[in-house]
Amino acid sequence: MSARSRMRSVEFRREREPSWVKLEQILGSVRRVGLGGLGPRQLAQLPVLHRAVLSSLSVARAISLDRNVLEYLESLAARSYFCVYGTRRSLFEELREFAWVRFPRAVREARWPLALSAACLLLGVALGFLLTLDDPSRYDALVSSDLAQDRSPATSTEDLRAVLYSDDELSAATMLAHFASFLFTHNARIGMLCFALGFAAGIPVLLLLIYNGLTLGALAAVYHTRGLSLDFWGWVMPHGVTELGAIALCGAAGFVLGQAVVFPGRRSRLAELAHRGRRAGLIVAGTVAMFFLAALIEGFFRQLVHSVPVRYTVVAATGVAWWVYFTKCGRRAAT
């Protein structure tokens, strides 16, 4: 053996190469069958081999001038980094923890933005109500025609009533179609839009919330003038508790983002946005489920149950359930 064939970097490579090859095999099977498809032995080896390759990389940077080896180790380390530090839990586990711990906690953390967004919504309702009461001709400006379902200040009391207790023999299919097309997907999209618009300093969120409130208020005013207030709220609120709650939450998420953009605090704007964006995104993901529930109530319960006391019972029940859920759930779980 001559001196030069015992170059340190050559020896180093000869010694470490088997562990690199083994890691590469594991990464290959992760690519094919996913992390869940690995056997227990491979799974246990992965972090060990990951650390080994990182140490190899550090050593190689110090002693080797073989560019191919350096680039190879960089890429191998990067690929195993993706596996070890990529998302690591299954969607199911993720969802369970999300529902019982992280969502309610994120909502509690955002209570002030939530108060602001609920206030905007209520302000919109009050404004819409008063404006329409004052001058019924404003109704058309406040309520878009597809939401009005042929209801306007000119509609007869009987027809207005009929919408609240529609007796049409609706087939399950029609109900489901209505549910899917409008009640759920439409509302959930508005909610997500609310979040995304928060990026623009939160101002579009403010407008969207108030506008949604205006519509509801104007509709309520029309019913109020006919003495149908009790029936109207009994028609809106069974799903409204959940739906308006979800809208308010999306608005809150939008405000959280807006706050990060305008007042980043001690951190840089980018870091703050990333930090808060994740929390706010969590809230919006939760509201998708809330919109789903609201649409179920609206699409089925409301069509099937016409008794006013039962409707109000549902209002109270959903209100209490959400209150308990958001104030109590996930308090004890460790962070």
């Binding site: 970097s9 073989d66 998302t87 209505h178 839009l193 990026f199 995104g281």
Partner: protein
């Protein structure tokens, strides 16, 4: 020590939780757009397939049930396709996998599901709404041209954000704290420090003197490595390079096959430089002039970066 030749401006370093810095190459906006288009094509294809399948089963109920089902599926595909894949495929989607891209945490930590959720919620305003606006401008307020113009500008600004910042972040990346990078894949090649022929245990040596080896630096060594690893060897290039090196180090060992000479010179040079690296004095560049002559700065000296290994031009410019 690595002088990465490709996209030096697009390298971003993160520090892993183990404390080792890893460098990644940012994905370019064009690559990301390609990956996105592939994903979008997949979503559309699935939707159409579903619609066609359901079309056959619509007659009994007037299409209500199946269209409702299709709408729900479309909603979930459109909003959760990316989230689902990025969570279960460690930060990649089918489109990203084909192009070779990955989502990582911008600060090097674990890519959390929260980040994935957040970065995909904004696609609605970044892509779907601008697209809708371009295709059907009339649904966005036909009566108010000023507001309309404002909406268009605002949406275009959002959609163009990746082109406007250094890290090519889109709104979702800002909000989720993520970065999209290349998933690198480099093959481990034969160690040039060992003999090319495994049966010959010992590579031939020609006894270079330290003074001869000190004429060159790390950059030239790696250029030489590239040349030796090139598949298609240009015999003339090999000969040119070998002659230039022999000239520069005042070689007196007689005539050799260029390939043998370069292999041996590479090994000796690497051993010498690695030894010096351990002592903390690695030399980056070659020395000017010829061995035995004083250093004379040359005005027309090309930068080593311009040199393309394996091309028709000789790599080394010894005098």
């Amino acid at each position: 020590m690595i002088a990465s030749a490709e996209h030096p401006g697009r390298r971003r370093e993160i520090v892993t939780p183990e404390g080792v810095p890893l460098a990644f190459t940012l994905a370019s906006p064009a690559e990301r757009a390609m990956a996105f288009l592939l994903d979008a094509a997949l979503i559309i294809a699935v939707t159409i397939l579903l619609a066609l399948l359901l079309y056959g089963a619509t007659d009994q109920d007037g299409g209500g049930l199946s269209s409702a089902f299709a709408l729900l599926v479309m909603f979930f595909l459109r909003n959760f396709y990316f989230t689902w894949f990025e969570i279960s495929w460690q930060g990649s989607t089918p489109g990203k996998r084909v192009i070779g891209l990955r989502v990582i945490d911008r600060r090097g930590g674990v890519l959390s599901a929260d980040a994935v959720f957040a970065r995909n919620l904004t696609r609605e305003i970044e892509f779907f709404m601008p697209l809708l606006l371009l295709m059907f401008p009339e649904i966005f307020d036909p009566d108010a041209p000023v507001r309309h113009l404002f909406t268009i500008l605002w949406m275009l600004a959002l959609a163009a954000l990746p082109l406007l910042n250094r890290d090519h972040l889109r709104v979702g990346d800002l909000v989720g704290g993520t970065l999209v990078v290349h998933a690198p894949k480099t093959k481990l090649l034969r160690d040039l420090g060992t003999a090319a022929d495994p049966k010959r245990d010992e590579p031939p040596e020609f006894g270079f003197t330290p003074a001869q080896l000190d004429m060159y630096g790390v950059r030239e060594l790696q250029v030489l490595e590239d040349l030796l690893r090139t598949r298609r060897h240009e015999a003339r290039t090999m000969r040119d390079v070998a002659e230039r090196i022999q000239h520069k180090i005042a070689w007196s060992g007689g005539k050799l096959k260029p390939r043998d000479f370069l292999d041996a010179f590479y090994r000796a040079q690497r051993a010498r430089l690695e030894h010096e690296l351990l002592l903390g004095k690695a030399r980056e560049r070659k020395r000017e002039g010829r061995l035995g002559q004083p250093d004379t700065p040359r005005r027309d000296d090309r930068q080593p970066d311009d040199q393309q290994p394996g091309s028709q031009q000789p790599d080394d410019q010894g005098t």
